[in-house]
Symmetry: C2
Subunit: 111 residues, 2 copies
DNA sequence: AATATTAATCGTAATATTGCAATATAGTTA
DNA sequence: TAACTATATTGCAATATTACGATTAATATT
């Protein structure tokens, strides 16, 4: 059907899936990488940096902001976006908690 | 249009986006979590565990296998899936390389 | 006030994803 | 070899995502 059956899964599973979507599109990865490098930037910076239309960038920024992974503050005449440090750390921990659960293969084959 | 313009982005950005999709659906997260816990499992285990149809599970397993994040070996009459340790480590490193690029905010506000 | 500048939102089109029933395939067992 | 078991594939249908032009809104600048 194309409708994710969220009710079948745990809150943690839905949470991980939601956060992973922040990274699941190259434009959003590019935006995040640019923010990591530049510390902060505005919509028009990204329109120049990536080759996407202003409306498209704005939409990706909105999604990232809804996920809490970036935040925007009014900077004079424009909106300045940056990484949300608290969420960033939380996302890092969420992923590493998952990554570190793989403990098999202490040398021998595990499957 | 709904068509991701991959050619606008770097190989690394497309790679991260591709890998993130493994985690961007709760059913796939559930499958990976089950594999982390059980070490290995077969399609029918997952059909019982999650509430999805056999065909749907099979499709998610196929995607995860295409991404290289799991691998399947013939185990008697059925197909046994497990985490691919090499890819798992590589994905962990890819994400942490990104996570660790956030170095701002040594106490003061960064944006 | 008229005019830029900047970004958000709306409307729409195209493509992608999700899910499942039905069917196909392959190995196993009676 | 016929029935059974287990999984993959096919063929839809429904929903989600991506992208952009056009419009709107809000603030500066002249």
């Amino acid at each position: 059907m194309g409708l994710t059956k969220k009710d079948l899964f745990t809150a943690e599973q839905n949470e991980i899936a939601m956060v992973a979507k922040a990274f699941a599109h190259p434009a959003r990865v590019a935006i995040l990488q640019h923010l990591l490098k530049a510390n902060a930037c505005i919509n028009s910076d990204l329109v120049g940096e990536l080759g996407l239309a202003q409306a498209t960038i704005s939409q990706h920024l909105k999604e990232l902001k809804n996920m809490g992974i970036i935040k925007g503050t009014i900077e004079g005449t424009s909106m300045s976006y940056c990484i949300n440090p608290e969420t960033w750390l939380s996302v890092k921990n969420t992923f590493n908690n998952l990554f570190d659960r793989h403990i098999c293969c202490g040398g021998e084959d595990c499957c």
